[in-house]
């Protein structure tokens, strides 16, 4: 199965989003 193609750099994801006109889904997580 192909997993989610995560970015870890918000600004990099935003630059792609702006270019494609697609929204950003941001997941804040904590590995406690």
């Amino acid at each position: 199965m192909q997993g989610i193609r995560w970015d870890t750099d918000f600004l990099a994801a935003l630059a792609k989003a702006k270019e494609a006109g697609r929204p950003v889904y941001q997941d804040f997580w904590f590995d406690g």
């Binding site: 995560w6 989003a17 804040f28």
Partner: protein, 155 residues
């Protein structure tokens, strides 16, 4: 992370196909710049931003698959709604209701679908229909109470 739903193919495909997904690690001992910037007070936390980086939808805490997908559709709908693209928002709100009727986000989608319908058509009956739907399907929700004034609108 919301690891349960992310192990499902349908969730992965939906996120990859409709969003640019980004994950941001948090550290409660040493809060990061991103945590401060976005005001993250608990994890997991999820934000849907438009392509300009403006936040349109946020939810906090573990969400199972049906709730997660409903939030993702609702977030997309709210981007259109908040940009006054009501004709585009309506089918997205309706998708929440048709595909995820039991999800926690569904009552908000029903309310905003009514408002978007009114703004698109200027027909107040759209608000009354939203009220009727909320009372019929989600009578205990806060959104049903918020829609109560629309009960006075004649169909």
């Amino acid at each position: 992370m919301n690891t349960g739903p992310y192990s499902e193919q349908a969730v992965c495909e939906f996120i990859n196909g409709n969003f640019f997904p980004v994950r941001t690690e948090c550290n409660w001992d040493h809060p990061t710049e991103a945590m401060r910037r976005f005001g993250v007070q608990w994890t997991p936390a999820f934000i849907i931003h438009d392509p300009d980086g403006k936040e349109h939808h946020r939810f906090v805490g573990y969400v199972p698959t049906d709730d997660l997908l409903a939030h993702l559709w609702l977030g997309r709908a709210k981007i259109s709604y908040n940009s006054d693209r009501h004709g585009e928002a309506i089918p997205l709100f309706e998708t929440v209701l048709s595909r995820h009727p039991a999800a926690g986000a569904a009552p908000e989608a029903a309310f905003l679908r009514g408002v978007a319908g009114y703004k698109e058509s200027h027909d107040p009956k759209e608000l009354r229909r939203a009220y009727d739907l909320l009372v019929a399907r989600y009578p205990q929700s806060e959104w049903a109470r918020r829609a109560e004034p629309y009960s006075a609108i004649s169909l």
